[in-house]
Amino acid sequence: MLEARGLVKSYRAPAGAPIRALDRVDLTVPAGSLAVVLGASGSGKSTLLNVLGLLEDADGGDVLMAGERVSALGRSGRGRARGRYVGFVFQSFLLLPSLTALDNVLLAGRYAGRRGPDVRRRARELLAQLGVQERELHYPPQLSGGEQQRVAFCRAVLNDPPVLLADEPTGNLDDANGRVIWGALRARADAGAAVVVVSHRADAVVGADAVYRMQQGRLQPGPPMPGGGTP
C-alpha cells in the first residue's frame, strides 16, 4: 500500500510569492489498485509523483510504503527504498542511450543487488510480454517511441516493485502503443501493486480504480469513472 499524509511542497518563484505545488495532499492507494490523478500542466501532479516516489523531498508530510515511513529516511535509505519499493515510468522514457534495451532493463536489477541468469531471464520474459524481445540488443535511439516506453516499463517492473508510478506514460505514444502500456499498468495493479498514474488526458481514467483531480496543488476526488465507480 502507498500512503501520503499532509504532503506540502513549495517552489521558489523568481519573483513574487512561492508557488505551492502540493497543498496538504492526502492519498491512499491500496495494493492491487490503480489510481489516476488528472490535472492540467502546472497543477502539481508531477510533483506529487516525484514526492511519492522519493525523487524529491516534500517540505512537510509523510510518505509510507508497506507501512514504512520512507520519507523520514536519510538520503541513502531513500535510495534503497526507491530500489526496493518503487518502479517509475516516465513520459520521456529516460532510457540510457549508451545501453541496449536489455541492459537498460537490467539496470534496475543491478541497483537492487540482483544479478545473474535469473534476473536476465526475467528481463527477457518482460521484453517478450511487451512485444520487444526482438529489440533487446538495440540501443534506445534505434527504437521507436512506443518501443522505448515498453522497454522503460520492463525496467520499472523488473524488481516487482509494490509501488508503480507513471508520469504521463502514454503522452508521447500513439493510440496502439498507449493501449499496450495501459494494459500493462492495469496488469501490474491486478498482480498486487499499488499503481499511480498522472495524466492530463481525461480518457486515462478508463480502467482506473480511483480517479483524482489535481488543481493548484490540491488533490480532490475526480470525476465519476466510466461504469459508475467512485474513488
Binding site: 525523487l55 541513502s76 535510495g79 526496493r84 539496470l107
Partner: protein, 396 residues
C-alpha cells in the same frame, strides 16, 4: 570488457580532450626534462673533477678556459697533497669565430693526454655508442659527440677534416644531452696542432722563438682528481695556494657558477612546468567534470532506479579512472609521436628538443589519473546533492 569498450566509446570526445591536455603536459615536460638533463649533466661533470687553467686569457674554451698551463705547472699540481691524477687538456672552439660566445650549442675540440687516466670521478671515460674510444698512441683519430656526428653526417670510419688535417672517426659517443654531444675528442698532440693552426699569435710566438714554449707546455688546462677521502674543495684551495700562475675552479664553486649561468633556463623550466600543469591540468579537469555534468540526467535516472550515492560514486569514479587512464595513455602516445617527429626533423641540425623520461611519463599518467578522479569526484558530489528529480530536469 564489452561494457568497458562501450563506456570508452561513449566517452570518445572526453578521451580525446584528456589526451590533448596530457599531450600538452608531456610535451612541455619533455622539453623541460631536456633542459634539466643538460644542466644536470654539466653539473655532474664539473663536480667530478678539479678544473685548472693557466692564469690569464687564452683562446681555450669550456671548463678549462684560461691562459696557457705549462708542463711545469702540471708537475707542481701533481705534487700537491691530496691530488690524484692530473690530465693535461686542450679545449678549443671548433670555430674560432664563436669563441667569444660560450653558447650551449658550441662545438668544441677536446684534446686529452691519453697516457694518463681521466681523473673525472663521474666520467672516467665518455660513453661510446659506436666504434671505440681513443687509445694511447692514437693520432689523426677522433671520437665525436652524437649531435656532432648527426649534424656533420659522420659515422665510424668516416674522415673529418679540421684545419686541413684529416682525422678518422673511430667512435661516436652516446647521446648524453649535454656538452659532450658536440665534442670532437682527439689526442692532446693533435689538439695542440689544431690550436697552433687556429691561433696566429701563438704561431708567431713559436716561430720567432721569443717565448720558450715547448709542445708539452701547450695546454689550456687540466682535469685534476683527488685522493679518496679528500675534500675536493680543500684540495683545489691547496693547489691555488701552492702552485703559482694557475686559475683553480673549486668544484662546488664551478657548480654554483654553472647553475647561476643557467638560472635563466632553470626559471624557464619552472615556467614551462607550471604552464604545462596549469594548462594541461585545467583542460583535463574541465573535460572530466564536463563529462560528468553532461550525464546529469543519466545519474538522475540511476538514482530513480535505486542507485545509492555510494553506488553512483563508485560507478562514476570507476569510469573516470578508465577514461583518464585511456586518455592519459593516448596523450602520452600522442606527445611521444609528435616529439619524435619534431626531433627527427631537428636531428638534421644535431638538435634534440624532447626527452621523454620514465619519471615524466609515469608522473604525467599519475597526475592525470589523480586530477581526473578528483575532478570526477567533485562533479559527482555536486550531482548527488541534487534530488533525482532535479537531476533529470536539469539534464533534459
Amino acid at each position: 570488457m564489452r561494457l568497458l569498450i562501450r563506456i570508452l566509446r561513449g566517452y570518445a570526445f572526453t578521451i580525446a580532450g584528456i589526451a590533448i591536455g596530457v599531450a600538452g603536459i608531456v610535451a612541455l615536460g619533455a622539453m623541460a626534462e631536456r633542459i634539466v638533463r643538460f644542466i644536470e649533466g654539466g653539473d655532474r661533470f664539473v663536480l667530478g673533477q678539479i678544473s685548472v687553467a693557466g692564469r690569464g686569457l687564452g683562446m681555450g674554451a669550456g671548463f678549462t678556459a684560461g691562459g696557457m698551463l705549462p708542463a711545469a705547472s702540471l708537475r707542481a699540481i701533481a705534487g700537491v697533497p691530496g691530488v690524484w691524477g692530473v690530465q693535461a687538456q686542450v679545449m678549443l672552439p671548433l670555430n674560432p669565430s664563436t669563441s667569444q660566445f660560450m653558447t650551449l650549442t658550441q662545438e668544441l675540440i677536446l684534446g686529452v693526454d691519453l697516457t694518463v687516466p681521466t681523473p673525472n670521478r663521474h666520467y672516467p671515460q665518455l660513453p661510446v655508442g659506436q666504434g671505440r674510444y681513443l687509445r694511447p698512441g692514437d693520432r689523426q683519430a677522433a671520437v665525436v659527440g652524437a649531435s656532432f656526428a648527426t649534424s656533420h653526417g659522420l659515422h665510424v670510419g668516416d674522415r673529418l677534416t679540421l684545419e686541413e688535417e684529416s682525422f678518422e672517426v673511430v667512435g661516436v659517443l652516446q647521446r648524453t644531452l649535454t656538452a659532450p654531444d658536440r665534442f670532437v675528442v682527439m689526442s692532446i698532440e693533435d689538439a695542440r696542432r689544431q690550436w697552433i693552426a687556429k691561433d696566429r699569435m701563438l704561431r708567431t710566438l713559436l716561430a720567432t722563438g721569443v717565448a720558450s714554449i715547448n709542445a708539452p707546455d701547450l695546454n689550456t688546462g687540466a682535469a685534476v682528481g683527488w685522493r679518496e677521502g679528500e675534500d675536493p674543495d680543500a684540495v683545489a684551495r691547496r693547489i691555488a695556494e701552492q702552485v703559482p700562475g694557475v686559475n683553480v675552479q673549486l668544484p662546488s664553486e664551478l657548480s654554483r657558477l654553472l647553475r647561476s649561468s643557467t638560472a635563466f633556463f632553470s626559471a624557464l623550466l619552472v615556467g614551462i612546468g607550471a604552464l604545462a600543469f596549469v594548462i594541461g591540468g585545467l583542460s583535463l579537469a574541465n573535460t572530466v567534470a564536463a563529462a560528468v555534468f553532461e550525464r546529469i540526467r543519466d545519474f538522475g535516472v540511476k538514482r530513480a532506479l535505486g542507485a545509492t550515492d555510494l553506488q553512483l560514486g563508485g560507478e562514476v569514479l570507476g569510469e573516470a579512472l578508465a577514461v583518464t587512464l585511456t586518455g592519459g595513455a593516448a596523450g602520452v602516445a600522442l606527445a611521444i609521436g609528435l616529439g619524435f617527429a619534431v626531433d627527427g626533423w631537428a636531428a638534421r641540425t644535431g638538435q634534440q628538443l624532447f626527452l621523454f623520461s620514465g619519471r615524466l611519463l609515469g608522473g604525467a599518467l599519475v597526475f592525470s589519473v589523480l586530477l581526473g578522479t578528483a575532478a570526477a569526484a567533485y562533479a559527482t558530489l555536486r550531482v548527488v546533492r541534487l534530488s533525482p528529480a532535479e537531476a533529470i530536469r536539469r539534464g533534459a
